[in-house]
Amino acid sequence: MTAASTTKADMTMLKVDAVTRLFGGFKAVDDVSLQLGPQEILGIAGTNGAGKSTLFAAIAGQQPADAGRITFDGQDITRVPPYRRARMGLVRTFQIPREFKSLTVHENLLAAAANPQGERLIHAFFQTRRLREHEAQLAAKADGILQFLNLSRVRDVQAGGLSGGQKKLVELGRVLMLDPRCILLDEPFAGVNPVLIEEICDRVRELQARGIAFIVIEHHLQALKALSHRMIVMDRGRILAEGDPHTVLDDPRVQEAYMGGVV
């Protein structure tokens, strides 16, 4: 990597350039461009069907862009499969929690950890001391994250039995195992009680202070406004407004589209 591109990557971690995603003839995401700096928290709001989650899927790779370009750290990742994007440090959570329900909370985190050697079939039977130590380190790391997320109490509970809010936290914990540099949170507050929302916000801020960038999709506008440095409002697949949270939410076009002009 040249010196010039390194400097550029410092300014923009993630760059989405004119991305379009089609479902049949329908443009779920239509020519969307955005940029995310390191340690930035970008909020995305918009009505249901505005294309927010599809945009996430295009960025994370579950639904590759049909047109446009996505770069992460200066590398073109438009055609890179999701698991490799995650290894590069670009991870996501899901709108509807997708915990591994038959695994315990602790195992959920361990399953996410990068452990290519230990996860080989042969090593289920022949474990070297080095692998056992590595597994122990990962277990300790998972315990640290559970403590950070206030989930230690449910460490050995099967994740399928948790509340909606706890599942959201487990998902956050899972992606933290990957030492990510950019986390996409899809509706982290949906179905979560207000106390827990505050807690999730605090954790996100702490992680941001440690150097992780976030894009957060959320319908809970007050919480999103308080959390974001910058906001984007989407409507019918396009970006309607972009800027600092106050200005964006006061924009008449946003009020028209998002709240039907009532507010």
């Binding site: 579950q62 997708r98 695994l103 996410a112 452990n115 230990g118 996860e119 080989r120 399928g160 990957l178």
Partner: protein, 293 residues
């Protein structure tokens, strides 16, 4: 009577081995393999044909496992694109294709005539003793596979298999490539079925294509589902229970008047079906699968 019990025991253990293989594929990883019997057949024929060429039985058994495992590779690769019911249809079709191929390619497999006169395991020890020896060896192997499954389930590899079973897309969003794990577990399960086939061939000593019909696959599934898929206990006890029931109901005709031999066979299947429905309704995790997750 001991000879009879021993024979039932060997067949029951062969079903256990098949169920343990399916347990890895379906119980842990949720891969719907409706073609268990195909790998069982390939194992039986591989071992049978090699033994007729004079190969030592140990070599035949290893070849049966290896070839069945390798045959699972293309199916495993297909399973990367196909999920759930589609994979079920493909594997079911595959197992019928294997059976019909065996039936048609008589230059190799002797077609519908089958392969008579296969060497029996431990035959030099005499009839009764050899049966007991086969039972013992098979029991040891089944025991080892049980131990291996438990070990696997608790390993990082097994953890990923369960994660794939729960939510494959979420796992790949976490930087894991589920493909490799799915193919591997498919091949391991198939290799176990292949070894089971070799035991079958060298116990029965006569194999024909019509022994390898999809009903065998469904017996294995019934055993696993009734016992409780995902656990060794469920796979083992479910298969044993099914065998006890299938064999036990042979004697039932003495107490059910007015039912012919053929009628009894149909009744038996109906009863197994009813039991399966009841278990699914009232014990969805199987009889030995533990409490609800």
């Amino acid at each position: 009577m001991i000879a009879y019990l021993c024979a039932i025991g060997v067949i029951a253990l062969i079903y256990c081995l098949l169920a343990l293989g399916l347990n890895l594929q379906f119980g842990l990883t949720r891969l719907v393999n409706f073609g268990v019997v195909a790998f069982f057949a390939v194992g039986a024929y591989t071992s049978g044909l090699l033994s007729l060429q004079g190969a030592p039985l140990v070599v035949c058994f290893i070849a049966a496992g290896v070839l069945s495992g390798l045959l699972a590779l293309p199916i495993g690769l297909l399973s990367l694109r196909l999920r759930d019911d589609y994979l079920a249809i493909v594997t079911l079709g595959f197992s019928e294709a294997v059976r019909i191929t065996i039936q048609q390619e008589s230059w190799l497999t002797n077609g519908v005539q089958g392969l008579p006169g296969l060497p029996k395991l431990f035959s030099s020890w005499g009839g009764g003793v050899s049966d007991i020896a086969i039972f013992t060896v098979l029991a040891v192997i089944v025991g080892l596979v049980c131990w291996g499954t438990v070990r696997l389930t608790r390993s990082p590899f097994g953890r990923l298999l369960k994660a794939i079973g729960d939510d494959e897309a979420a796992l790949s969003a976490l930087g894991k490539d589920p493909a490799r794990f799915k193919v591997q577990v498919f091949m391991v399960g198939a290799a176990l079925a292949g070894v089971a086939g070799a035991f079958y061939a060298h116990f029965i000593t006569f194999i024909t294509p019509e022994q390898f019909i999809p009903l065998i696959t469904f017996y294995v599934w019934m055993g696993l589902v009734m016992g409780g898929s995902g656990t060794v206990r469920g796979a083992m006890f479910g298969s044993l229970l099914l065998m006890v029931f299938l064999e036990g109901s042979r004697f039932a005709k003495d107490w059910v008047p007015g039912v012919s031999e053929v009628g009894m066979a149909s009744l038996r299947l109906a009863a197994v079906g009813l039991a399966l429905i009841l278990v699914t309704l009232y014990r969805p995790n199987g009889l030995f699968g533990g409490s609800s997750k």
